[in-house]
């Protein structure tokens, strides 16, 4: 199967039906539509903020067989991710980390999409995908090296098919697209998920990744967490139309999902991945969510947004929502929550201890891995640096 033939086969059919219909439904809406409770026709939702399971003809089948244990698993993932995130914020406050980018509020979007993946799928994250990293099996302590300043990425991307965090906004969507083009060339049925945010949606690279993925029919899911804020700029500063509608212009479907509904995020991502595996090309998923904390620990959100908005979103908390659902369905007992609480504390302790024990790298790490095949200038500068260092040792009579 060639890339060219699948592009010709699928782009009209799938893009036409899906994007066309969502586009019509959403006409006249604006970015904050999801703030309306529950009844928003644009928003795919399977669990209401009260934890009530609502039917959805299109997406129910992707979570139809989900067991109580799997639901508890999603809850556990979200709780542990939040606990890890809180610990990292504390560690920054204690001076152990230079910076932390909290995912508080985005647990459902990340765990739901992350748990939809197969091992052979590949993820290209931003710098906030701690929940997705968790789902991929990346040790959370490895995420902290770059925030402590001991490295710029402390894990092997191919170890868990989870690429390094990308700080330049939107760049990774092109890497994801290229990787997906490679999957198609290999004839594999794996897929790629490119994470990005509402701010990144303005970047040219994101638009170019939409173009390339559409033209080459690449098996990539663009998972946009619209958390309403790009540092201080609201989504209205990035777009006049709901972000998911942009996909239509590129010829592939886009859908907006309740990003605080882990079940809906799981279902919609599974649908999008299924399309990718079936040779139907890219999909844009806009997970409508909220960044409950600051952009990073260096940010002060009180300068640009009020409590009212945050309180409204707290009522839609992703973890609380699933807990209500689990309890009303009698899927859990007190023992489960107590055990999870203990596990959370143990995780926090492990992370804390790991960070405090994280050694500073050797000075000569500066010169390591600049090139794979070496470079004469790097060798020369390393040698000069060594001689310079050694000159102090001589002076001290060591």
């Amino acid at each position: 199967m060639t890339v060219e033939s699948t592009a010709a086969r699928t782009s009209r059919r799938s893009a036409g039906s899906k994007a066309g219909s969502t586009g019509t439904k959403a006409a006249g809406t604006r970015g904050r539509a999801g703030a309306k409770k529950g009844a928003d026709p644009e928003l795919v939702q399977l669990l209401t903020p009260e934890g009530k399971r609502v039917k959805n003809a299109e997406y129910d089948k992707y979570v139809a067989g989900i067991t109580a244990e799997e639901l508890r698993g999603l809850y556990r993932d979200m709780v542990l991710t939040r606990r890890f995130d809180a610990e990292a914020t504390s560690l920054q406050r204690q001076g152990e980390l230079g910076l932390w980018a909290s995912l508080l509020g985005q647990e459902a979007a990340q765990i739901g999409s992350g748990r939809a993946l197969r091992d052979d799928d590949y993820v290209f994250p931003t710098y906030r995908e701690h929940g997705v990293a968790w789902c991929r099996g990346v040790d959370p302590t490895n995420l902290l090296g770059m925030f402590r300043g001991v490295n710029n990425g402390g894990w092997d991307p191919n170890g868990n098919n989870f690429h390094l965090y990308t700080i330049v906004i939107g760049s990774q969507t092109l890497h994801a697209t290229g990787y997906a083009m490679g999957i198609a060339k290999d004839g594999a049925d794996s897929a790629v998920v490119a994470y990005f945010g509402d701010g990144a949606s303005s970047q040219g690279d994101v638009a170019e990744s939409f173009t390339f993925s559409a033209v080459y029919n690449a098996p990539v899911v663009f998972f946009c967490q619209n958390n309403q804020w790009a540092i201080s700029e609201p989504t209205e500063k990035q777009t006049r139309v709901p972000l998911y509608q942009r996909a239509a212009g590129f010829g592939f479907p886009g859908v907006r999902v309740d990003g605080n509904d882990v079940l809906a995020c799981l279902a919609v991502t599974k649908w999008a991945l299924e399309r990718a595996r079936n040779g139907e090309g890219p999909t844009l998923v806009e997970a409508y969510t909220y960044r409950m904390g600051a952009h990073t620990t260096s940010d002060d959100p009180t300068r640009y947004r009020g409590d009212e908005e945050r309180l409204a979103w707290e009522a839609k908390d992703p973890i609380l929502r699933l807990r209500r659902h689990l309890e009303s369905a009698h899927h859990t007992d007190e023992g489960f929550f107590a055990e999870l609480e203990a596990e959370s504390e143990a995780l926090g302790k492990r992370v804390r201890e790991a960070v405090r024990a994280m050694p500073d790298p050797d000075d000569f790490a500066i010169f390591e891995n600049v090139y794979a095949d070496g470079h004469a200038l790097v060798d020369e500068e390393r040698a000069r640096f060594a001689a310079y260092q050694a000159s102090f040792a001589d002076a001290e009579g060591v």
């Binding site: 060639t2 890339v3 060219e4 290209f124 490295n151 710029n152 990425g153 402390g154 092997d156 991307p157 191919n158 690429h163 390094l164 990308t166 330049v168 760049s171 969507t173 092109l174 890497h175 994801a176 697209t177 290229g178 990787y179 997906a180 083009m181 490679g182 999957i183 060339k185 290999d186 040219g204 690279d205 170019e208 990744s209 173009t211 390339f212 033209v215 390591e368 891995n369 600049v370 090139y371 794979a372 095949d373 470079h375 004469a376 200038l377 790097v378």
Partner: protein, 326 residues
């Protein structure tokens, strides 16, 4: 084909063909590289023989080309990307500098980025704006990138083979005004190391160091100077990053004078780095300051003015005279 005289552009074409034949992971990507064979026909016939999946006509988006090439490299491919003209590389500059150059280090050596970016560069062809620039210093300044530029058909062939085999990203600057110059290419030769300079004309009175399109000019300068009884050595640097300072030093210790020639603006150009380092290395050998001949600190001018902007025989000879006058 063992040894054959061919144009520099054809040598690149043959080199790409060989890479496509010998490694199924090699891909060609760029604007118009497929059916058209590139605007300079450098990729002529490759898509016909290797298919659209390996010789890929891309959307007109340079950041997208390089960004997806990075993704393909992460998947195990070895993309050879063409940027259509020097002045069009800047939309991709972000991907090249922030991602391509740094990802190997960012991953602590876990991932490699064997991506070659071919860029036809330099002036002298009477083109419109953005089609005649020499931005090599902007890439040489970035750790993680290697920057090379062949001056002749044989080097064009072999240096591209080596660039493609390199596990590091290589910016491969093609001297577009020399595309049609013919030279002997032996496909069975044992090539010199990619980043090694080469003495292409021996001399005793002064060293001319150049790369890419200016090497031919330096040959002409040396021939003209010889008529005046001056013996100039010509050094083809071949690689801008890394620079082969050992070879420059060896030549300067012999001739005691150095003039660096490039089309790029002199200010912060590769000649500045060479002058600084050679002054440091050869301070007691030098009879004159290292001089530079290159473009001016002005936008590349309209075509009718480019002869006045570009280094030519007289301007280089003028620098030679100034150096010898010390």
């Amino acid at each position: 084909m063992a040894a054959e005289k061919m144009a520099l552009a054809k040598a690149i074409n043959e080199s790409l063909r060989r890479a496509l034949e010998s490694d199924p992971k090699v891909l060609i990507m760029g604007e118009d590289v497929g059916k058209l064979g590139g605007v300079f026909r450098v990729t002529d016939g490759l898509q016909k023989d290797f298919g659209e999946s390996r010789v890929i006509d891309t959307p007109l988006a340079e950041s997208g080309i390089v960004g997806t090439a990075i993704g393909l490299a992460l998947r195990g491919y070895r993309p050879v990307v063409e940027i259509q003209f020097d002045g069009f590389v800047f939309p991709a500059y972000d991907q090249i500098v922030t991602q391509l150059a740094k990802m190997h280090a960012r991953s602590l050596g876990k991932v490699k980025l064997p991506v070659v970016i071919r860029i036809p560069y330099g002036g002298g062809i009477g083109a419109v704006e953005h089609h005649s620039e020499s931005p090599e210093a902007l890439f040489a300044h970035v750790a993680g990138l290697k920057v090379v530029s062949p001056s002749n058909a044989s080097d064009a062939y072999w240096m591209l083979q080596q660039a493609i085999q390199s596990d590091d990203p290589v910016i491969y600057f093609e001297p577009k005004r020399r595309y049609w110059d013919k030279g002997e290419v032996s496909t069975e030769a044992i090539p010199s190391p990619l980043h090694k300079a080469r003495v292409v004309r021996e001399g005793t009175d002064l060293t001319l160091a150049a790369y890419g399109p200016m090497v031919k000019l330096c040959h002409e300068v040396a021939a003209a100077a010889a008529e005046e009884g001056k013996s100039l050595e010509v050094l083809d640097l071949r690689s801008v990053s890394p620079l082969d300072f050992d070879s420059i030093q060896a030549s300067v210790e012999k001739t005691r004078r150095l003039v660096v020639v490039h089309e790029a603006p002199v200010f912060f150009g590769s000649g500045a780095e060479i002058a600084a380092r050679i002054t440091e290395r050869c301070f007691y050998h030098l009879e004159a300051p290292v001089l530079r001949v290159g473009g001016y600190h002005a936008p590349y001018p309209p075509a009718r003015l480019e002869e006045s902007y570009l280094p030519d025989l007289d301007r280089v000879l003028d620098a030679v005279d100034r150096s010898l006058a010390y």
